[in-house]
Amino acid sequence: MSEPRVEGGRGLVARAALVAAAGLGLTAVGAALDLRRALAAYHTAFTFWAGTAVGALILLGAFHATKARWMVLVRRVVEVVATTSLVFVPLFLPVALGARRIFPWLEPDRLPGELRRLAEHRAPYLNLPFFLLRAALYLVAWAVVSHLLWRWSVRQDRERGVALTARQRRLGIGSLPLLAVTITFAAIDWQESLDLHHASTIFGVYYFAGSFLAAISVVILALYALRREPALAGLTADHWHSLGKLLLAFTAFWAYIAFSQYMLIWIANLPAEVPFFIHRTRGAWGVVGVLLVLFHFAVPFFLLLSRDLKRDPRKLAALAAWQLAMHWLDVYYTMMPAAYPSPAPHWTDLTALLGVGAAALAFAAWRLRQGAAVPVGDPYLEDSLRYQPQ
């Protein structure tokens, strides 16, 4: 078997890089005009896309941990999405440099009395040097693990044999605890600390649940874009069906975690916790919350119950795009109300979102061309091509 490469979309790397430059450039212009607002937009976009990359990395680790064979055909796409973790190392710089204007606990003097006491109480954890050290740890861990998994997989394209599969499985499984801890603390540092009243012990899982759903969505969209590639000719309705089942499962999982977080805070009704949801269930933010319940959970969930929809790549991809957009709204709804008590959409929200996303896309498209389009060296590829669940 020769190495089947990706054939189409030759200009994608350049085009995506152009969009990234334009988006990030315009966001920089926005920063010159309104530094605080542009940084908030950038930080939100960064957290949204970085979570998606880590979600893909955890998906890859979970595939290895379960020794899943059906997904070998689509694994290269997952690896490439995961490997965009590397891009988020330099992309974190604006957040690190602008941290004082993003995180309220870095400027306790600007806070009202009660919040200032909270910020001072949490200073041993929430201080700039330790924050930056932790961020570096998360980002380096994600970059290294995703890069190794991808590199061994690509090496296997040439070297063949089962030894590299075994090595990927060991790292994939072994890294899962590390990924779980880092994404949890990233959620606390990057999202939860924005609102000093946000005290939710389930929040790490919440960020993971949304990010994992977004990662599955991105993988479905990438496969949809690649569906006419000769290398992926073996992609059958059964593969789409299983990806659709994952999308359904994690739509339900996100709702389960979101509800658990809401109900525990609502029912306890403690002054230290409940302001988080008071700000997010009243006024215009409250409308956004209801939209999320309806359109991030209820409608997609009932649509995804349909077997025919899951087996139709076009409809599944449309729903995946929808869930990705809804996850963005969820991240926005979690992060923005802390600094903006009523929604204040800004054009940098869009430029930052496109800029960071396009940078990751350019990197992924470039990576995808550096190996075969499917893991041809993996001995389990044959099983994946024969995949036919009952």
Partner: protein, 176 residues
């Protein structure tokens, strides 16, 4: 009164091909019996889609609405208790129980519906008269056809031609 013609096949492909071929020859009442799932047998037998999902949906609607209404009636109508100023009709607090009753009722409907559709409890079937049919729960893939007695020999011959390892015929006896 009907006759059953049974054929045992060695592998998935053979039994699927035989089922397809008999169906095209106009034998309508076909069934497959095997200890393991047979890939492609649903299409080969042209089985309709299972009505179990619809039965489950009925269970979901009944269990969900029943659970919620039960709590609403108990907490907000029949015996109102003020718990720390929370509303008597506290929707978020009702959700976990609603979820549980939904799942429970759906599961009962699925299992019950499956039993009903499979004809349980049915203690005996004429094909059990064939001793060799016991391999259907060990390693044999069996195709059975319910035909009029006059046609049984023709179908048996067809099964042999299609590669059955062994073929048996059972005639249903008249009810006494």
């Amino acid at each position: 009164m009907a006759s059953y013609v049974l054929g045992e096949f060695a592998d998935d492909a053979a039994i699927c091909a035989a089922a397809r071929s008999l169906r095209e020859a106009g034998v309508a009442a076909l069934d497959a019996h095997s200890p393991v799932p047979i890939h492609g047998i649903d299409e080969a037998l042209a089985l309709p889609r299972s009505p179990v999902p619809l039965i489950a949906l009925v269970g979901v609607l009944l269990g969900g609405s029943g659970g919620y209404l039960m709590m609403w009636w108990m907490n907000a109508v029949d015996y109102v208790i003020d718990v720390g100023g929370r509303p008597a009709h506290a929707a978020p607090a009702f959700v976990p129980i609603t979820f549980e009753t939904t799942v429970l009722t759906a599961a009962v409907f699925i299992v019950g519906g499956l039993f009903a559709l499979a004809g349980f409890p049915r203690l005996h079937h004429p094909v059990f008269e064939v001793e060799a049919f016991r391999t259907a729960s060990v390693d044999g893939l069996w195709l059975s056809a319910e035909v009029e007695p006059g046609r049984a020999e023709a179908v048996a011959g067809e099964l042999r031609r299609l590669g059955a390892r062994q073929v048996s015929r059972v005639d249903e006896e008249e009810e006494p």
